[in-house]
């Protein structure tokens, strides 16, 4: 409760850190903020070239199949890679000034979230100009899934950013874990490739139900199953609160460890 009140008091700080991060990211480059759109577009171009033209994947519009999973995946992996440095990278601030430390991982998560949301605009734009059609009713579920994933990523960032302060190795372990997790989530292949008997195990990976839901909405044009949404919600909440707990325990000695 105390934490919520304090975070509310420091809301302007969170917002201004998010803005600073978004603005700072492409500062100095000629195209500036446009890169937020160009980047995913170029990626989409590469995937089309590789999987559609060169590998001749039989799945219809495989590049879109991949892309709608890849965008949320990039958001998630930011928590494991750069997000783990959310506290470490601000050592100067943490050592010299008081503010609720949670602001750092949370604002980092929010700025990645905004980036993902902007990438979704690219997806819609592609749908608009290409012959593919997207059913609009399931899109109502999109914000719900996005919020669920936001809590998941926030939880993971809270954990990685606080642990990295004490164990600098984690940075490197995370990049390996990042790759491994990507292949046990249905990012590059459809979930139907997974044998039924391993399915329940497979769904323990919190990103699996999230990506399944995204693909149902943005690629298949169907409502995600209730079971999948509930699973995504439950797993995200567990990780989010575990994250708050771990971070809360570890934050007291940040200033001394940094």
């Amino acid at each position: 409760m105390q934490l919520i009140r304090e975070l509310y008091m420091y809301r302007t700080m969170t917002v201004s850190l998010v803005k600073k991060d978004l603005k700072g990211r492409y500062k100095g480059s000629v195209l500036g903020f446009l890169w937020t759109f160009i980047n995913p577009l170029l990626q989409l171009g590469v995937y089309t070239l590789v999987f559609q033209v060169i590998l001749k994947n039989p799945m219809p519009n495989y590049y879109m199949h991949l892309f709608v999973a890849l965008v949320p995946w990039i958001f998630f992996s930011s928590a494991l890679t750069t997000g783990s440095k959310a506290v470490l990278g601000q050592a100067n601030m943490v050592k010299k000034i008081y503010f609720p430390r949670e602001v750092l991982p949370l604002s980092y998560t929010l700025s990645s979230f905004v980036n993902m949301a902007l990438s979704f605009i690219v997806i819609f734009a592609v749908y608009f100009i290409s012959p593919m059609e997207l059913k609009s009713a399931p899109l109502l579920m999109l914000p719900v899934i996005m919020i669920i994933q936001l809590f998941l990523v926030a939880g993971v960032t809270l954990i990685t950013s606080s642990l990295t302060v004490y164990l600098r190795d984690l940075e490197h372990i995370m990049s390996v874990l990042n790759m491994a997790l990507m292949y046990v989530s249905p990012v590059v292949y459809p979930v139907s490739y997974i044998p039924e008997k391993y399915m329940s195990l497979y769904l323990i990976n919190p990103m699996s139900p999230v990506i399944i839901a995204y693909r149902d909405i943005l690629y298949c044009g169907t409502f995600p199953e209730f079971k999948i949404v509930f699973l995504a919600f439950a797993e995200s909440m567990i990780i989010f609160f575990a994250g708050l707990l771990i971070f809360g325990k570890l934050k007291k000695h940040f200033a001394e460890e940094l």
Partner: protein, 400 residues
């Protein structure tokens, strides 16, 4: 009402000789991770009342900055507790979160938000902040184009305009040029008069004296003395003098009782007198009389590397009426001879009637007092007219 309550706070740091931060090092070389538990604060307790201004003094490494960090909740005590009521602003780190590519104005928003201000609160203060920083022309330029002086001026302006209930300051009045420093100083007094509680860590005792009504002297993690600056500072200076001499002359292994040692001789004021118009040091002067201050000294020039002379006039009720020193007056550091005489002519001794005393100090470049003669001269001033106040302003009346 006490706004800061500190109860038996202890804090120690583990100082590692060779600290591993990777898994390999943590697992394999656990025996290599030898450390020394260094006690920084060893049971500190005090209360600070609302509106009080307190100076924390002590030599380097005595724990005063750690204490300040504990008060800001940057670090937490090992045992004991600290209770604080109200919003804290700290001038520990200036310009936290500044981004070089963003404009001064944008950075004000970021920086102020780190102090916990909401957008609305920042908007209501931003004009004051910009005005105080004197950067109106440059406020929409990126801060990477600022000079370092401009940068700190902006940062300081934000920090001091937070309007906190409690202001924590760590050696900051060394910001910008002399004019800006004076402005900061005035602002501090202004903040104090508004009832803000202020805690200052400083090596400059004169700063503490001017702002604070109370000094807490911390030594070896404990409170050594707690009282008014008048009581604490002379004792502190004396102790520092002994300490300094010990580190200079005595080898570390020898434990010598401090009290039994004689003071090492650097310089001494042997006599001081104020000579009035009648050519005698009568100690009674008329308001506006032309007087001459003579200071006689002995010194060891081989140990000295330029000194400054400081004067401080006090009224009998301890009001500091006038203070100055040779450095403030842009006079070069003085090279003393073995024995000599310093003369200071005062064209008009413009105090109103009352009893006064003069303190004189000979100080090194880093403000260490080689000799501090309190009450070097005590004198009374009389006047033929019954003025009131402190000083007489030369004036003429004209009636039309």
């Amino acid at each position: 009402m006490a706004v800061i309550e500190v109860r038996d706070v202890k804090k120690s740091f583990k100082v590692y000789f060779d600290k591993g931060q990777t898994i390999k090092e943590k697992l394999l070389f656990s025996n290599r991770r030898r450390y020394e538990e260094r006690v920084i604060l060893d049971g500190i307790s005090f209360d600070i009342e609302k509106g009080e201004a307190v100076g924390l003094v002590g030599h380097n490494g005595c724990g005063k900055s750690t204490l300040l960090k504990l008060l800001t909740k940057i670090i937490y005590p090992d045992s004991g507790n600290i209770k604080i009521t109200g919003r804290i602003s700290s001038l520990l780190e200036l310009g936290a979160g500044f981004h070089p590519d963003m404009t001064g104005r944008e950075n004000i928003y970021t920086n102020a938000s780190i102090f916990g201000l909401t957008r609305k609160e920042i908007e209501s203060r931003i004009d004051d902040i910009i005005e105080f920083s004197e950067l109106e022309e440059f406020i929409d330029n990126p801060v990477r184009t600022y000079s370092s002086g401009m940068y700190t001026r902006l940062a300081f302006s934000v920090a001091i305009n937070v309007d906190a209930d409690i202001l924590l300051v760590d050696e900051i009045l060394a910001v910008g040029d002399a004019a800006f420093q004076a402005k900061c100083f005035e602002k501090m007094l202004d903040i104090k008069s508004k009832g803000t509680t202020i805690v200052i860590v400083s090596h400059s005792l004169s700063q503490v004296e001017q702002i604070c009504g109370r000094t807490v002297w911390i030594d070896k993690g404990k409170i050594r003395m707690d009282g008014s600056p008048n009581e604490v500072h002379p004792k502190y200076l004396e102790y520092m003098g002994l300490k300094r001499r010990n580190t200079k002359t005595a080898p570390k292994s020898q434990e010598v009782k401090e009290e039994n040692q004689e003071k090492e001789f650097f310089a001494e004021i042997t006599k001081a007198e104020i000579i009035g118009e009648d050519g005698t040091a009568s100690c009674k002067y008329r308001t506006g009389e032309k007087v001459t201050l003579k200071i006689y000294y002995k010194a060891d020039p081989s140990k000295l590397d330029g000194v400054l002379i400081g004067l401080a006039f006090y009224r009998s009720d301890n009001l500091n009426c006038y203070g100055t020193n040779t450095v403030r007056e842009r006079i070069d550091y003085i090279n003393l001879k073995e024995q000599g005489e310093i003369t200071c002519e005062i064209d008009k001794l413009n105090f109103v009637k009352g009893s006064y005393r003069l303190d004189i100090a000979i100080r090194s470049k880093d403000m260490f007092a080689y000799d501090y003669k309190a009450k070097a001269v005590e004198f009374t001033v009389y006047s033929t007219i019954d003025e009131v106040g402190v000083a007489k302003l030369d004036h003429k009346w004209t009636f039309d």
